[in-house]
């Protein structure tokens, strides 16, 4: 298994853990700072980057770079789709001239969910491309 694939599995695990923790905290403690704090788990995605091999300057080859760029594109495409869907949903439910009052925590949480989505889709696409398709 290549380093990129290991990173993808690790990231997918962190994303799954974050979602599960958010659900569990939300169910038992309700919505509050404790539930919001589970997003700190996303910091675990940086653990593979701190490995010795990374700091040794190991470079990826052309196939790995192609997979990596395709996965990143898939992640941002998913974000863009979700963003457009979200805006359209607000438009259809609230109307064109509605004014929204949004608490700061909601904005921050949206940002963290967007990051979770991008990393999740990127990791999933990386795994799929390593296991099948033209780059396997």
């Amino acid at each position: 298994m290549s380093d990129s694939e290991k990173w993808a599995w690790w990231t997918l695990g962190v994303v799954a853990l974050t979602i599960a923790a958010y659900g569990a905290f939300g169910a038992f403690l309700g919505h509050g700072p404790a539930t919001f704090s589970v997003f700190a788990l996303l910091a675990l995605t940086s653990v593979p980057a701190s490995s010795r091999r990374y700091f040794k300057g190991r470079r990826s080859d052309e196939r790995e770079q192609q997979i990596s760029s395709k996965a990143l594109r898939a992640g941002f495409s998913a974000f863009w789709l979700a963003f457009c869907g979200f805006i359209m949903a607000i438009y259809f439910t609230k109307g064109w001239n509605a004014t929204l009052t949004v608490p700061v925590w909601a904005l921050m949480e949206t940002l963290f969910w967007a990051t979770t989505l991008i990393w999740g889709v990127e990791a999933l696409t990386t795994i799929v491309l390593y296991r099948g398709g033209p780059h396997a």
Binding site: D61, E62, P134
Partner: protein, 76 residues
């Protein structure tokens, strides 16, 4: 534009055999790629850039057209 999937074949496995059973790892190091990329190339699942094709051919000391073959289809 024709799809390259069915038309480019490589003889990396044979060339490795002819070079004293050179390991995939050894070839990968000399060509500057990972062993996984060599595995994908031999399995015909990945098609290299021109640069990588030339680098692999250079490792074997052979012209690139001997290591990689292009089979034109009737429709080309």
């Amino acid at each position: 534009m024709p799809s390259p999937e069915a038309e480019i074949v490589n003889h990396i496995r044979r060339f490795r055999f002819e070079h004293g059973e050179m390991t995939q790892d050894n070839l990968a190091k000399q060509a500057g790629v990972t062993r996984h990329t060599i595995m994908a190339l031999e399995a015909g699942k990945y098609f290299p850039s021109l640069l990588l094709a030339f680098r692999i051919a250079r490792v074997f000391g052979a012209p690139v057209e001997q290591v990689f073959e292009y089979h034109a289809r009737e429709s080309d």
